[in-house]
């Protein structure tokens, strides 16, 4: 219950999230695996749709920078990390479910029948 209440906060006060000028997103991938490519494409699409001009995506390839995995506690690949606005959110997977992704990014309230 607590979780959903917190998730719904941005929806009730959209200003909270939207007050941040730029959304700082980080996508952790490992090489050019299909999952990573899909994830990036999906993310790009969602951002264009919901945060036009207010987002920044940084793609980190862990195969090149393995030392960066520890910083954001990355276990699964791909993982999308919302650095800003706070709090930190993580979405793992290829982001194929737009609804879920939006809930994860707290751009949309969690539906009661979700999960």
């Amino acid at each position: 219950m607590k979780k959903s209440a917190r998730s719904s906060a941005p929806a009730e006060h959209p200003g909270d999230s939207s007050s941040v000028d730029v959304w700082d997103l980080r996508l952790y991938v490992a090489g050019k695996a299909p999952k990573s490519v899909t994830a990036f494409a999906n993310l790009k699409k969602i951002c264009e749709e919901h945060l036009p001009g207010r987002y920044r995506i940084e793609v980190i390839d862990l195969l090149e920078h393995p030392q960066l995995a520890a910083g954001d506690q990355i276990v699964a690949i791909p993982t999308l990390v919302r650095k800003l606005p706070e709090p930190l959110r993580k979405i793992v997977g290829d982001l194929r479910d737009t609804e879920r992704t939006l809930v994860g990014l707290q751009l949309r309230p969690r539906r009661l029948d979700d999960r």
Binding site: A70, V75, I91, G93, L95
Partner: protein, 585 residues
């Protein structure tokens, strides 16, 4: 040495390379360590020491075997972890500095993770690979990887990825320890044993009768003959140690050397030379039968020989023992001061049996005694069940034998028990068994002692009365006579009666001898008198004969004078008148 021998034996047997853990006891029961280059699952419930076992595996690997290690913590942060193990003497920070160790904290927080679509655990793989490659790690611990199950919800993916992970670890050639939480009726809550098939170690933490005991069991170890029992283990300031440490096989050497029991008469009863070095002596007896005194004599004798003696006292404080023994003429304090005698006194209920055994091991290792006294061994039962106590004492005995340490165990026999039982059922395992008991007779109790058994030596089968004097213990023969076996003042009374009788007999003989002497003297006196009489008779006779001769001479002279005066003619005629003149007289 032993370790190398173990390793050699096993590699000869199986060809399975092993990574020694350096953890006391564990290498012995696994026959050399964990399977090298393969994952080992260590499972157990919360607080049973999984993390610590893993950490010690890495620390010892780094320090003792020069193998760098990676610790991946899923439950504690690196700082928490290093702090926790510092109390056990592991300086993880230093090892990290020396590039012998990496501690990485992998946190998977479900509340901040949303899952959508396909993913894999490549991130974790990358981190592991990075950590392993930075220090060229040979060992890795994943503690507890099951945390992933609570952080991520897609079981299908998780399971597939775990399977891949373990295979990947094998390919990497690192010796891995994976810890897992114990599940209901299964080894691990999430069935990790399904993936780790080479070696599974189960840790357990049980509390029986308010005494907690940690146990370790090797559930499986592919390709290795391993101990299958539950072995008690403990965690102390030196980390984990698994017991028994040595000699599960009866392979200890037997010495021919003999050492004194501290009581000369007892030595005499034991074939004249005392106990065998390295043997186990049990001394059982009722309360107050002198067990501690006899044990103290033994300790005293050892110290006097210049051998170190370790005295475990469970019922009396060292001060009390020293004072009490002073009253029978033993100066134990000087040995303590010289460092030859060390008392380790504590209540047996202080901690569990395993802890006792561990502290025994530790003390024995540190103090290196040649002689150990446990007084009394039976009180260890209070620290656990009788079965456990027996097992523990057996292990202790094995350990001592392997070290060629002579052990003297005392055991209290309570009144309602048969004398030939010892509280801890070890009587069949001891080499020499002395029995001390009270004999109640004529309103007093006296101590008697006998040797119930003594392997490998001719020994007396006689009861001896056992006296505590201010010059120590004295053993005297009990009185055996028509009146039966007598001890104490009965014996003394009987002895004095006998002495009186003997005196009487002696006096009688004396008297007879004197009388005979008198008679002899009397007879001799008579003989002398008679001899004197005879002499005087003889003298008289001689005198008479001489007189006669004189007179005849005189007569002859007179006759010759007369003839001369008568002018007798021929000289030849002088004889005739002599003869005829006698006829005429």
């Amino acid at each position: 040495m032993a370790q190398r021998a173990n390793k050699n034996r096993n590699s000869a047997n199986r060809g399975l390379p092993k990574a020694p853990t350096g953890i006391e006891g564990l290498d012995e029961i696994t026959g050399g360590g964990l399977p090298r280059g393969r994952p080992t699952l260590v499972c157990g419930s919360a607080g049973c020491g999984k993390t610590l076992l893993g950490m010690e595996f890495l620390v010892r690997g780094a320090v003792q075997y020069g193998e760098p290690g990676v610790f991946i913590a899923f439950e504690e942060s690196a700082a928490e972890l290093t702090q926790n193990v510092r109390s056990l003497g592991f300086d993880v920070d230093k090892l990290i500095e020396q590039k012998m160790m990496v501690v990485d904290f992998v946190r998977v927080e479900r509340s901040e993770i949303e899952e959508t679509g396909e993913y894999d655990l490549e991130g974790l793989f990358v981190r592991l690979a990075y950590a392993i490659d930075t220090i060229k790690a040979k060992r890795i611990v994943l503690d507890t990887i099951e945390a992933l199950f609570s952080g991520l919800s897609n079981m299908g993916i998780l399971r597939a990825e775990l399977r891949r992970l373990f295979r990947w670890l094998k390919d990497k050639g690192v010796t891995a320890v994976i810890t897992g939480e114990r599940g209901e009726g299964i080894l691990t809550r999430h069935g990790l044993e399904e993936y780790v098939s080479d070696c599974v170690i189960l840790l357990d933490h049980r509390v029986t009768d308010q005494v907690s005991t940690r146990r370790l069991r090797i559930v499986k170890y592919r390709g290795t003959v391993h101990g299958t029992n539950e072995y008690p283990f403990l965690i102390d300031e030196d980390g984990v140690s698994v017991l028994p440490i040595t000699s599960m096989a009866l392979q200890h050497e037997a010495s021919d050397e003999r050492i004194s029991s501290g009581v000369p008469r007892l030595d005499a009863m034991l074939g004249g030379r005392g106990y065998f070095r390295g043997s186990t002596v049990l001394m059982s007896g009722t309360a107050g039968s002198g067990k501690t005194s006899l044990a103290s004599h033994f300790a005293n004798a050892a110290s006097a020989r210049g051998e170190k003696c370790l005295y475990f006292a469970f019922e009396e404080s060292p001060g009390q023992i020293v004072r009490n023994m002073r009253s029978i003429g033993l100066d134990l304090e000087s040995w303590v001061r010289k460092g030859l005698l060390h008392f380790h006194a504590l209540r047996s209920t202080m901690h569990g049996l395993e802890m006792h055994l561990a502290s025994f091991h530790k003390l024995i290792r540190d103090f290196e005694p040649r002689v150990v006294v446990v007084d009394p061994v039976g009180s260890l039962i209070q620290a656990g069940s009788p079965n456990d106590a027996t097992a523990m004492v057996t292990r202790l005995m094995d350990f001592l034998k392997a070290q060629q340490i002579t052990a003297l165990l005392t055991s209290l026999t309570s009144g309602d028990q048969a004398f030939e039982t010892s509280g801890v059922d070890i009587s069949s395992m001891v080499d020499t068994w002395l029995l001390l008991r009270d004999v109640e007779l004529a309103g007093e109790r006296n101590r008697v002692m006998y040797i119930l058994k003594s392997r490998g030596m001719a020994h007396s089968n006689q009861l001896r009365e056992f006296l505590l004097t201010d010059r120590g213990i004295e053993l005297t023969d009990v009185y055996r006579g028509p009146e039966g076996v007598l001890t104490g003042s009965m014996r003394l009374a009987q002895e004095s009666r006998e002495q009186a009788a003997a005196l009487l007999r002696q006096q009688e003989g004396e008297r007879k001898r004197r009388e005979l002497e008198r008679k002899r003297q009397a007879l001799e006196a008579r003989i002398t008198a008679l001899r004197k009489e005879l002499q005087s008779e003889e003298d008289e006779a001689n005198q008479f004969a001489a007189q006669e001769k004189d007179r005849e001479q005189t007569l002859a002279d007179q006759r010759a004078a007369m003839s001369r005066s008568r002018k007798a003619d021929a000289a030849g005629a002088r004889d005739r008148p002599h003869k005829s003149s006698r006829g005429r007289q």
